[in-house]
Amino acid sequence: MTEDYSLNYTDTDIDLMQSLKAPGKGYWFLLVFLLLLIAAGAAAWGVQIAEGIGVAGKNNPVGWAMYITTFVFWVGIAHSGTLISAILFLFRVKWRAAVYRSAEAVTIFGLATAGLFPFIHLGRVWVAHWILPVPNFGGLWPNFRSPLAWDVLAITTYLTASTLFFTLGMMPDVAIVRDKTRGWRKKVYGLLAMGWQGSDNQWRHYTAAYVFLAALSTPLVISVHSIVSWDFAMSIVPGWHSTIFAPYFVAGAIHSGLAMVVLLLIPMRKAFKLEKYITGHHLESLAKFIIFTALVVGFAYSIELFVSWYSGNPFERAIFIYRMTGDYAWAFWLLITTNVLVPMLLWSRKIRTSIPWLVGICISVEIGMWLERFVIIVTSLAHDYLPYAWGIYKPTLVDSLIVIGSFAWFFFLFMVFSKTLPVVSMWEVKEQINPPTKSGR
């Protein structure tokens, strides 16, 4: 079928199940380290609940800061997963098979991390359930006009959809593991495989379901981050209230998401010796994709600036001048560099095929995308309509620990996943390679 693989069905299973072998020292050390960071973050959150949200650096006028920044960041990270697994599937892109499993894991764990922040940032998290779309507090429903209410629905939907998609794709592989292992493992994976045996009837419904799930997830890639962006665009805060926010945020999301996938694939393929499956070709394709998203994001920045100038709206102008010259100017210029300029290096083949360079550039993109959200959120709030009410935000120990903890949490989840489930979809790789034949044709 394709030339990419000089592989056969038998080796595929053997190679790809390497990753499930018992982990080494380094793995455990890293895991414990991450757990400690998570504990610190959790403790910080405990303090915040006990003391009040004041322990985080927010104030009047800056009511949102690092929590929402990190929320948006992780939702963004999540996007690449669905992009690769669903959209590339619909377009029958071949190199998808090798990388999409990890990408989807990124989606789910990204959302699992992002999902924490709406709770963390609440003043009274103990009554958070009032925001759920069920009657509460004397039969009162949430206000569906509020972008926050949309957020809740959008994120839950996204998490549900991608989890189902993930589970479905995983089923045949779990069955393989079941058939290849013995003892308690066999029992566990047997349970997870839900009695999958690959009969043609199962495959028939399976492929149908797979296509539809992909088709349904595809609009989510666009809509979820659009809705997240409307948290800002629907407000009247200068620097937020802008129609370009939806596409602008989606592009940013995919930008950061792809970078994250690369950052996870590289160590993984090294650790599990998957170079045959996740080849340089794959990474290069991702790198090219990143050039594209970088350009889109850069374009968005310039349009944003142009519109604020062209609008003649004094408040808009003031905000952008403040962003470029004010208290957070360093962040603004840093994000422009790390998000747009640095990725331009990928135009050179030498650089985009060099692993160290690729890692460096992807890290730079992650930093940039986090800063982008930070700058948008904080600068706009810090200097809005009434000059008298202006103020600035300074991070504190508590909110910093929580943000760091969230990163630890994400990587922790991913590491656990990488040791317990096949990180590359075996059945889909087989789809790409020649089936065993007597004639050998």
Binding site: Y9, P133, T157, L164, D179, G195
Partner: protein, 174 residues
């Protein structure tokens, strides 16, 4: 033509796809029409030879999606009419924002329904795999499960061997 419950069958395990396909062409000719194929990945050749109807999962998807759409509108409009609270001077029934909600619920219900559709049709979860299931089937072998009248079992086994089955497993009992 589904097999009658408790009807005996034999499963031929094939190491190669082409021999399998040959077998699939041959078996119906010999009157063995109740056939099920097991394979590590889906193959359109197999689906083609077996001439199955398109999967009814899509119906689940459609119904689920429409239900979601309806739910979205009913929930938003209904809840606001239940508690007609004015905010920001906007109408009680504010269509644009409610549209967003309706869109999301459409997708939510759609995905859930699709998954359920799969589970129902593919008969998962199952407690145990079919008798005579071979562990190589998920990896690099193909299986043909053929139902037959008890008196033709011997004939079937012989046929499968000649077609190149590396192993033949049997159903419970006979």
């Amino acid at each position: 033509m589904m097999p009658t419950p408790g009807q005996p069958y034999r499963m031929g395990i094939f190491a190669h796809l082409d021999t399998l396909l040959a077998a699939l062409r041959r078996l119906p000719a010999d009157g063995f029409r109740e056939i099920e194929v097991y394979s590590p990945t889906p193959h359109h050749e197999i689906a083609h030879l077996l001439e199955r109807k398109p999967s009814p999962v899509r119906v689940f998807t459609l119904v689920g999606g429409l239900t979601g759409l309806a739910t979205g509108w009913v929930m938003t409009i209904g809840s606001t009419l239940l508690f007609p609270i004015v905010v920001g001077g906007k109408p009680i029934v504010s269509i644009p924002p409610f549209g967003v909600v309706a869109y999301i619920t459409t997708i939510l219900f759609g995905t859930i329904a699709t998954f359920i559709g799969f589970l129902v049709n593919a008969r998962v979860p199952q407690i145990k795999v079919v008798d005579g299931y071979d562990e190589r089937l998920s990896s690099d072998h193909f299986g043909v499960l053929v139902y037959s009248a008890p008196e033709r079992i011997i004939e079937l086994e012989r046929l499968l061997t000649t077609l190149g089955a590396v192993t033949i497993t049997k159903s419970q009992g006979l």
